[in-house]
Symmetry: C2
């Protein structure tokens, strides 16, 4: 499993080292990737500038050249990481409420590719939320946005009469709770099944609480 992770990072680096298409100003992107790999391999507690520099392939001074302090770098990295999750969700373009909610939950609770590695990285960053106000605010904003997406689609469904007239904000919070619970359990208990189970739980919830039973 440890090897799988390293491989993933090697693959990412390989992809990115390919033909020099865009300007070298993408050093930032490279450092973000290096941070991602170093974090995934060592965890937040053992994440050092030196290890990031090793993944980056340059010296520690090179890292400090782009980011004055370790904190600056990590704040930027958390934005980068949360964007990865947002991007996935933005792939859903359907507007039909039932279908859209279904697909949003799919994106939030499965989808993968590199999902497991992303979830580990997220867990590590989350663990610093009680101590770094910046992190906490970034995570709050992300949660708020995802909740907004859910609340909106639920409201639309209610207006169209396909969902029961429930408290849309509460329903959105409930689904976010299931999402966070699934992610935590998947990574902490090392149980990939946790996401699949939670996807079903979310469906239970939608079917039983939101869905109008046409009979």
């Amino acid at each position: 499993m440890g090897n799988a992770v390293i491989d993933t990072c090697r693959i990412i680096h390989a992809m990115e080292d390919s033909p020099g298409e865009y300007a070298r100003s993408d050093s930032n992107e490279e450092i973000m990737l290096a941070t991602y790999c170093a974090l995934r391999e060592h965890g937040y507690a053992d994440l050092t500038i030196k290890r990031i520099a090793e993944e980056y392939g340059k010296s520690t001074a090179a890292v400090h050249y782009y980011y004055e302090t370790k904190d600056d770098l990590l704040v930027a990295f958390l934005d980068y990481l949360l964007d990865q999750f947002i991007d996935t969700v933005h792939e859903v373009e359907t507007v039909d409420p039932q279908q859209r909610l279904d697909l949003l939950l799919d994106k939030l609770l499965t989808d993968p590719a590199d999902h497991r590695n992303l979830l580990v990285a997220l867990l590590e960053m989350q663990s610093q939320a009680p101590y770094k106000i910046t992190f906490r605010e970034q995570l709050q904003q992300n949660d708020e946005y995802l909740r907004y997406l859910l609340r909106t689609v639920i409201s639309h469904g209610i207006e169209e009469g396909v969902f029961s007239d429930v408290d849309a904000e509460h329903a959105a919070q409930s689904l976010m709770t299931i999402v966070h619970g699934a992610r935590t359990r998947a990574v902490v208990l090392d149980d990939p099944n946790a996401l699949v189970t939670a996807r079903r739980t979310a469906d239970d919830y939608v079917d039983a609480v939101l869905q109008t039973n046409p009979e």
Copy 2:
């Protein structure tokens, strides 16, 4: 908020420094408490033997006298921490399925006293699960036990005809997902309301999925 934490730890220390009732062999308990406070105040990434020793009120060598390595200490501490949660749940003695499930969820999703501090400590320890097999196994065992309690009470309810004939294991996993999600959100987003909301979500789930509608 930072002050509130420190105060909590001071209070705990005060309680424990009171009349010398039991033998001094309780140094272990004192070190566990010191670790709890140091962890709560600084987070896992900045948890050092020195800081634990400061909370303990003795030298770092004193800590190493009882625990050979930092790892040994932290493994013992995780057991200690998880026991705190288990103890709370064990206060539920009711056998009536509906009432018992209700009270179990209360204990898992509210109860507090020092709940928030306990949740922060848990989050910190969880963040090391991907890197320390021992931690992961301890957390797996804990989750398994709580799931067992839920599955059992659900099965009893089904036998007695007060719950629908659902997959008890899946229902238990769903509730555990909600519990983990609530804890994560409460601490990471610093939203005490997350627990209350999730308690309602759990009720939604129980009412809609488990409860037989007698009509």
